[in-house]
Symmetry: C2
Subunit: 239 residues, 2 copies
């Protein structure tokens, strides 16, 4: 297994680089308490996240023009609050806006910054996330993620796993698809990238969905590279 | 003069952050010599650059769909070579491609990296250049420019000084125009940004066009801030 000929590593971010569940729960906890909700913050994070794919599917299907993720997250927040016993119409919009920025303040997995810093010595490194540019930029600045550029859905104007998200990213990099490797904790994302000709590296994140996680614990295809974390990924590449 | 309320500094790049004329001349010199041209490398850089605005005007006018700058530079190279006594049809395309990457390998002005590094402590910093994403990314990686994100024409799908280039950049940053400040060595760029509501900082680069430069030596409006270089700009902002 090697990545010969690869010049750019692009990364899934939610789950692969950052721990979205803990971060959203941490930010939601004081909000829920303040509004008298008994909802468990981690369960609230899961519920908010469950609306993520259906919201993007509206765009992928063409039923809705491209809309950036901050807007979808904000709509999804209003949709999920009643399940936590909170009427969004009774919360000041500025407070909802502030909670929506939870997604900008997620912590990286412990190996992420060190691994990315090593990988950056040889490769162009960039997010290929469904998160929008300012979300990724705020997150990187807070967490010290040393990206060379911010790529992803808003730049490609397409949400993964639509082929355009991968192919336009390679085109923007002025590279052939096989010169670009997607690093992700999700087999489905890697499968879509491989169908477009990208190389693939799997880094499992077995607690992304909490201690009971059953999905994406192991590779379901022979990906070009498999590593336990980003530091091992760098070491496997001789960095 | 201050920039109160500003959260992002966006930068013109060619001329403001990097010395394009010296860099292109340095890269063109061995090419010209190899092909028996007696053209002066700096004059060749000027001639190549003179075709920059007309090429973008084809896009701004709507006569041509958005086309990234690497492609325009490559076309302009073929157009300008005959004036240097070189028939582009007799040069291997890979050699023209390589020379076209001269624009990816420009050196920053001596104060640029130090100034940007200080400014980054408080502001989101990003290029708002007509250069495309991979051009800006390659340049930053080689030169150590510590951008938080790569913005500009390819992300906004519009070439400066079209208003969309500035307004879409603010929208992508999820900021009001007055929360964004353009830093540029060109009065015309700043004037266009101001018409869109952005704040403005002028940093003259009196040798961008060589020792005989007559343009943009001083501010022609009361810009929000004027500084001699990026380190002074940082100092003026208390950084």
């Amino acid at each position: 297994m090697s990545l010969e000929g690869v010049r750019a590593l692009v990364f899934d971010v939610f789950g692969t680089v950052v721990d979205w569940r803990s971060g959203v729960a941490r930010e939601a906890a004081p909000f829920l308490a303040r509004h008298g909700s008994a909802a468990d913050p981690a369960a609230f994070a899961d519920a908010w996240r469950r609306r993520y794919q259906p919201a993007m599917e509206e765009v992928r299907s063409g039923r809705r023009p491209f809309t950036r993720l901050d807007v979808l997250h904000r709509e999804n927040l209003e949709a999920v609050l009643p399940d936590a016993g909170i009427d969004p119409a009774r919360v000041p919009p500025a407070e909802l806006d502030a909670l929506n920025l939870a997604w900008h303040r997620l912590d990286p997995w412990p190996d992420a910054v060190a691994g990315l810093t090593r990988l950056k010595a040889r490769y162009i490194i960039a997010p290929l996330s469904n998160g929008n540019i300012i979300l990724m930029t705020d997150m990187a600045k807070r967490a010290g993620l040393p990206w060379d550029a911010i790529l992803g859905a808003e730049v490609a104007r397409a949400y993964k796993p639509a082929p355009e998200a991968y192919l336009r990213t390679a085109e923007i990099l002025a590279m052939r698809p096989e010169e670009v490797c997607l690093v992700a904790a999700h087999n489905g994302d890697l499968a879509a990238a491989r169908r477009c000709g990208l190389r693939t590296a799997f880094v499992p994140r077995p607690t992304e969905h909490g201690p009971e996680q059953r999905t994406d614990l192991s590779p379901d295809q022979e990906w070009d590279l498999v590593a336990t974390d980003f530091v091992e990924l760098a070491a496997r590449l001789g960095l």
